[in-house]
Subunit: 80 residues, 2 copies
């Protein structure tokens, strides 16, 4: 089973990386860019067909390793 | 206009970061994980309502800054 996990910085938390990219884009002339937020995008293959089990495992992986839940949110998408 | 850009390492390119996360997940007991690939996920707000112009700008931003097109692929999604 294929899963996607999106890890993004929480809205109220400063995103220095996003700000840096925004500044670089402005320097390059892309002045329409009003906000940039950068996160992680993970594609994970799981050797199981049990959706509930996959979802529970992905939630646990996200909370224990993939996301720092103090400053990051995560979103899980299961394909199929 | 809100856009999302996904930057992922090309399939035939080694993903050391993905392999490291996969190893860590196995160590934590998530043995169902058979593959992990990690990429960047960007949320970009553009102060324009012209879809064609937004798409062209995002393509140029991706190719010039956001993705290293030698080893990375990018995918653009426009909301609305």
């Amino acid at each position: 089973m294929k899963a996607k996990v999106y890890v993004t910085i929480k809205e109220n938390v400063l995103d220095p990386q996003g700000n840096a990219v925004q500044g670089a884009l402005h320097t390059m002339g892309f002045n329409d860019v009003s906000k940039v937020r950068i996160g992680k995008y993970l594609e994970i293959d799981l050797a199981t067909n049990d959706r509930a089990q996959a979802e529970a495992q992905l939630k646990e992986m996200s909370e224990k390793l993939l996301a720092n839940t103090v400053v990051e949110d995560y979103r899980i998408e299961l394909e199929g």
